[in-house]
Every structure is written in structure tokens, then in C-alpha cells.
């Protein structure tokens, strides 16, 4: 297997790299330079018709895209430590938390990135700037909700580190990089972020 990868600050490839680091697994990485448009090359479009990274290529040539789906496949290949849950309820509940992080947090962050950030102005035409800026308030509301949820547990989906923490950390870090740091009032979230950032995998 090999992983078509792009460097930070792209949040999606980082999710797979953190996942692999938590598993103690090393895969060959093939760099796809987003800044040179290599993700839209014919070669890469043949691997992923949406032209995204990361993409996983198996030894038989079959490919998989979508970060969480790639991690789900890697979980089956390398089951320990479990990062998608152990029993049926836990697996569904962690899946719910991944989705909540993506829909509640990552969605407003990516709309802000597309429509309100100067870096994307050259590729997103037109930007709807007022709409873009309005996503900061959505993101802050979502963080306040998540901060409340963290009152009774150590990690996003319960008492163990899971794929939901990886999704949340990469989102919060990317948001910070584009100018949306978590508000100081989100004390539990900030403590959670410091804790998961101190894991060696966070440097992946």
C-alpha cells in the first residue's frame, strides 16, 4: 500500500498520518503538491475522480479516497489499538462523533476558508465574503457546544482516544491556522487540545 499525501496545513492528509502514527504503522508516502495543482493531474484524477488527497492505493492497484474511509480500511488491517471502537454501540457512537465534528465544526471552518480567506481568493470565484465571515459565529457556537459535551469525559467520544479526536484536532488546528483560534471561554476544549497535541502522533 501507499498513501498519496499532501503536507500541512492540509487537514485531511494529516488525519491519516496521525491515525497511522497511533497505530505504529508506516506507509510509503507519495507527495502530491496541491500548490502545483498535482491533485488535478490526469494521473491523480485516475486514482480519485474528485482530485483530492489523501488517496490510498492498495498493492493490487485499487484505490480508496475520503480520509475517514481510508482510516476505516486501515483499522481493519491494523486493529490495535482500536480507534473506531470495540463493540457495535461504541463503533456507531464514535461514527456519530466523527460526523458531528465534520458537520458542526469542519463545515463552517471550510466555508470561512473558501469565502472569507485571502489565500483562497485566487481560486474561489466569486467569494461570498459576508457569508464566509458569518461562519466564524457558527464555528464558535459549535465549539461552545462541544466544550459543554467535554464536561463528563476526557476525549471527544468517551474515555479513549479515537478517530473522533483526530478529526477534531486537525479541524481546530486548521481553523487556528486560518485565523479562527478557539475562544478562551472554551476551557475544556483548550485543555483537551493541549492533551491530544502532546501525543507524539500529533506531530505526524
Amino acid at each position: 500500500m501507499k498513501l498519496y499525501n499532501s503536507p500541512n496545513p492540509a487537514p485531511n492528509p494529516r488525519r491519516v498520518r496521525i491515525f497511522l502514527a497511533e497505530k505504529g504503522v508506516s506507509l510509503p508516502l507519495v507527495e502530491v503538491a496541491l500548490t502545483r495543482g498535482e491533485h488535478k493531474s490526469a494521473d491523480h484524477m485516475a486514482r480519485n475522480s474528485l482530485g483530492q488527497t489523501p488517496t490510498l492505493e492498495l498493492d493490487d492497484g485499487r484505490t480508496l479516497s475520503e480520509t475517514v474511509s481510508i482510516c476505516r480500511y486501515l483499522e481493519a488491517r491494523y486493529p490495535e489499538p482500536p480507534l473506531f471502537g470495540r463493540d457495535d454501540f461504541e463503533k456507531a457512537s464514535i461514527d456519530m462523533w466523527v460526523r458531528r465534528i465534520e458537520f458542526q465544526l469542519m463545515s463552517p471552518v471550510s466555508q470561512y476558508w473558501r469565502h472569507a480567506h485571502p489565500f483562497t481568493a485566487a481560486v474561489v470565484k466569486p467569494q461570498y465574503r459576508e457569508f464566509g465571515l458569518s461562519n466564524e459565529a457558527h464555528y464558535h457556537r459549535a465549539l461552545a457546544w462541544l466544550d459543554g459535551e467535554l464536561a463528563d469525559r476526557t476525549f471527544i467520544a468517551g474515555d479513549a482516544f479515537t478517530i473522533a479526536d483526530i478529526c477534531a484536532l486537525t479541524t481546530v488546528d486548521f481553523a487556528d491556522w486560518i485565523g479562527l483560534p478557539p475562544p478562551a471561554s472554551c476551557t475544556r476544549l483548550i485543555a483537551w487540545r493541549a492533551a491530544v497535541s502532546s501525543r507524539p502522533s500529533a506531530a505526524a
Copy 2:
């Protein structure tokens, strides 16, 4: 178990009802009237802190939200026929297709619904109407891409009906209901839609 449900045209509860119909399973439904704001009641917020439907309640009182996560749990309880795939690669690939449908199709449809539709003008304040309208073109591009993908197979994720078809059908039907029918040029998609709509489960 019981399912907190809302009637059509809400696309998410319908996804679970179609899933159950394909499984031949019947669960008690508890109606939550979105039009009366019952999803934001204290009772329902205790089941789902985001105040959404559907929500599944187990016999021991534990709850699960997020449509696909609920279906994932039901798949473990009622494995036949498999709707999330059989082997590890197929499971990851179907998961990828679910995510593609949600991010590529449902995301622009829901932004159009929120920001450009008169029904939501009373609750989404302010609406960013020009941004909302711009999502029609995004949705059409996504449908054209999906139409191309359907050149080599019968269903969204391969040669079997899966949860990805359920996600796509409910999205395309909801989009149609809000004024975004699929363009006539998407002939494969339109044929696929007719085929999956003729399954008894589509009436759920």
C-alpha cells in the same frame, strides 16, 4: 429500540426508514414534529444535544444520532441483506461513497435550502441569498460528475444496492422538492433514480 422520526420531506429520517424497509425490520416510531419545534424541546435535547431527528433509543436508554451512524448500528443488529458492504475494502469503499454523496451533493443542496429558499427565510437570519443560489451550479456539477461515475455500474457504490444509494436517493428527492430537479442531461442518474425509486423501500 425506538426511532424518533420526522415525516417527509425531511431527508434524514427517511434514510433510516428506507434502510429498515430494505432490512425488513419494523421499529416503533415516535413522531417529533419539526414544524412545532419539538426537536428543540428539553426532552429531545436530552436524547440529542443538537436537537436533530432521527435519533435511535435503545432499550437500555442509550441513544444514537446521525443518520448513517444509526444505520451502521442497525446493520450490526440486522446484518442481512448487507447494506454497508461485505469485506473490508467494500465496506471502506461504500463508506467513501456515502461521504462523497454527503459532501458533494447534500452540502450544496442544504446551503441552497438554508440561504435561497423562502421556506427557511423565517429561521435562517440573515440568508445570504446570492451565495445560496450559487449552490445550484455546484450541485449540477456534482450531479454531472456522479452521472459519469454511473457509466460502469448499476448502483452508486457498485453492483449492489447499499446505504450509498439510500443517501443519494433521499438527497436527489429532497433537492427536487426544493426546486432543484436533476438536469435532463444526467441520463444515467435519472435512470438510476427511477430504478431505486421503484423499490418498495422508497415509499418508506
